[in-house]
Symmetry: D2
Subunit: 311 residues, 4 copies
């Protein structure tokens, strides 16, 4: 299907349910997709960071995108991450996910290797040239250790290289510069600016953002859909209350003991434990080498769910 | 072939010659291998950082390891990088390179994702369990943004998970702790400690390192072989003079204008320009999105070669 | 005077006008204070980062705080930075600025030295114990390379150690956690939460922040006063328009050529050039070793002022 | 006294003994100086990082430099740190320590504020211009978050701005570039290159370094004096054995529990505990807000001393 321009609304980065031996759990994945679609989300983003894309071998990635595009069957757009170190590797993922029916691709700046703004621009240009569908930039300095500058994004938008950006940088000042630049520059049309900052969605939408890509939206998609609608209707008081409830729920991401595991194990472990407790997926396993939550930590996830009215 | 224990000597990380359209130049690659073997190096390391592994799609990686293992045909050991973000992806590369005949595999800590020492240990354990050949840890914080601790390395050595480490961290204090720990701990045998710090090889060998993995060894393998032999024979005066000559040559890695390109473009571009000027490879192209050196910059590479007696 | 609890409104970090030979220009400083007070700001913050506190010797710091407290004479509160590396040094500054009449002090986590959350807590406790006036934490990771955690801040608020925080971290998620925690915890009363993020003041106030400490408020205090009032009255449309105008003006901070100077030279140089162009201060000099703006760069500052209706 | 050119040998950064209430313990300080002088060190460095300069108020700094210059009375040179954020503040410290008789001053790049190589050069030029004695650069990126480049150091050496460098960066490649540049450039004479890397002193001296500034030299000055002499006489086998013994001793710096304290508390706490156990100083207190070692941790320091033959 053709992607709306701009892309708006709630676009959850879909978790990848796994079996205990780290195979993709296709049944759980389709149930998760139904859980999101039923809640009224506007599009799906597979193979992003919340999907554990960095942990999934190519075979798993193909299963995910095949399953999701097949299951939604054009009801709503599917964006797919093409996450890899540099241009030629990313291009191979673009070919794979678009062959499987992805409606847009999402990629970061080069990582692992030392890079430069000129090289980042070339990277996006070369990836876009190889893609039959629109390309979104994924701004994720915590992972790639480079921040995408506002001028770089705007220039690539004007060139037609980028159709949008998913900004998970947490740098709200630059995010706003991109929003204002998108509006101010006559050479930019239909550039979609999405925030990944799930604790300040009301702020981002108030500034003019088009949509949100919330990891926590796996757990409470109805919450983010309501939040989005309150913002769009200008009901800022209800929006703030809904956002604050979601902030409380988000605290589950810190449930894992930092002396025992990293932040990914804790946050993705909590999302999956919550989906398991809510009956959406069969198994809360995260991909190796992540550390599983303890039973006490899972219990605390349950308390967050209960406090948010989700159990 | 069985890897010597410990692995000693000069183990250059083999550059990957490319055609102008970024295909692997197999003819140049075999000439480069001959250039290194003839110089007397002790083993080869393919698909490391100097090989542009981060830039090569799987298809290119396969061509490289097939070409090199086929060409050396057991004359000397071939180590192969299995460079990817996390465990399951790395395991797929391990299967591929060992099927092609690699005698050992080399992998980093997880990257892109947030991690933790316990997860890094699990990662190496799981990769080793999937590998039919010895596993080396690749300590490269500039790329993966995590430093491997001395105790982590020593414990995994004692467990039999790691056969050695290639230390490109530049942290000589920790490097020495690993060397001293390897010698002091009765539960560690045959752990190979290799330095990637090509400017202080004499120091590393004087401390007890087993060998060196010098990117610059592509350009001047004879120099590193001489340096290694001087050190082994205790001729520290000649070793220092040879090392200082190589330090002068190494300055070529900064030839690229930093306002125009990143550090990888400059350093790998210089190595390839030098190999091209020396007649070893047909084309100095680096992989997209790296920025090519200008003709003036290539000229300066030539001057470094001339000053070092290599042209 | 007694500080309002909580402290609300616009609290500009007052620039320190200097003579060409880097003495404090007392006449210009009092004119700058008048410029701010006349505009309707709610309090003044001297000896912060925008005041070049890091560049001012103790003698200059004393002149600044004496001049400002003397000149405002209790019309509005004066907060003073006590910026130094560790506890004992900070305590000396606290003694100096409170002797000169400061109504509150503001200090960061320890810097230069390696630190730890337990040490940071001790630091704030010891500084507070030595201060006759309320203590604000200054969260400025770009300078001190440590981020103050939400729980640390909230616990120190509950203990009565901290009266507030000036958050210049740019981490809006944690900022919101502090705001929500302040409201949720029964053991916290009257903790002032101020944002230093001058591009997202409307967002911060919509979330419940008490006030703003905008460096750009030196240049356009009326703008920030209007912005604050629009937010307080719930006129979010006007607030957003005012904020966006200020975002445009803020772009002046990037006017300095990054190949020739650092970010402090550019941003503080632009603020001072603007104050000079607006006729508020006599000389736009920044403290050594900062690099002065070129005449072309000053001209561009003028264009930003004109575009914002300030010339 | 006039500083030797170049400055060579062992130059310990003198710890600052404190009383339990954090006053300078003058009696212990003079005993520590005697302990070092008797061991045969070549100069003393007061008010560096190991001296807790960052923790000492100006009053304490004056006591330290007065005490030490008075006590050594010209027997050997005294270098004094002038550690502060920027130029004007550093100049005040230079005036203070040289009035008290320091034979050279040591200062870092600007910190806390954002900086730039051009600003760093101006900083050193302005500090040198204000100093009646030679100026050494202190390269300490772990504290100031900027690495001094080889060309910057060499150019300032050639200009006569810098008399030397104390390199505590841990970047041995750049350290060697500075050594080679010092020798190669005809416009540089008598530039002293000192290493602060106490675990690789044999390597640094083998490369041509002039001397060493070892924090651990407080605890075992005889060891570093022997190590220096072995290196100078070309007895590399004995040098290596001595260095390895000192590496074992250095492990005491990690004795503090990282969940309870920062790295400074652990390392400086261990040095002071060792000096107390060896009977050199009266009290092992470190300056607030550092966390004291537990009695069990102090016991482990004792074991390190015993293992090194120092108890």
């Amino acid at each position: 299907m053709t992607l709306p321009t701009p892309l708006t609304g709630v676009v959850p980065p879909v978790c990848t349910p796994l079996t205990p031996d780290n195979e993709v759990d296709v049944g759980s994945l389709t149930r998760l997709v139904d859980h999101l679609v039923t809640a009224g989300v506007d599009a799906l983003f597979v193979l992003g960071s919340s999907s554990e894309a960095a942990y999934l071998p190519d075979r798993h990635r193909r299963t995910v995108v095949d399953t999701v595009t097949g299951h939604v069957a054009g009801q709503l757009p599917v964006l797919a991450g093409a996450i890899d170190m540099t241009t030629l590797r990313v291009r191979d993922h673009v070919v794979a996910v678009t062959a499987a029916g992805a409606d847009a691709v999402v990629t970061t700046a080069p990582f692992y290797t030392r890079t430069h703004p000129a090289e980042i621009a070339t990277h996006f240009r070369e990836v876009a040239a190889a893609s039959p569908v629109p390309l979104f930039a994924y701004d994720l300095p915590v992972s790639v250790h480079t921040k995408l500058g506002a001028d770089l994004l705007l220039d690539l938008a004007a060139e037609g290289v980028l159709a949008g950006v998913k900004d998970s940088s947490g740098d709200e000042g630059t995010f706003r510069r991109v929003l204002l630049g998108t509006r101010a520059r006559a050479d930019i049309t239909d550039f979609s600016v999405l925030t990944g900052a799930e604790l300040t969605v009301d702020s981002a939408l108030a500034m003019g953002a088009d949509g949100v890509v919330p990891g926590l939206g796996n757990v409470d998609p109805e919450g983010y859909v309501r939040l989005y609608r309150y913002c769009r209707s200008g009901d800022w008081a209800r929006a703030r209350a809904e956002q604050e409830r979601l902030c409380g729920l988000f605290a589950m991401t810190a449930v894992g003991d930092p002396s025992r595991m990293g932040g990914s194990s804790s946050a993705l472990g909590a999302f999956k434990a919550a989906l398991h407790l809510r009956g959406v997926i069969d198994c809360p396993a995260t991909a190796v080498p992540q550390v599983p939550l303890s039973s006490g930590e899972v219990e605390r996830v349950g308390k967050y769910l209960a406090a948010a009215g989700l159990l």
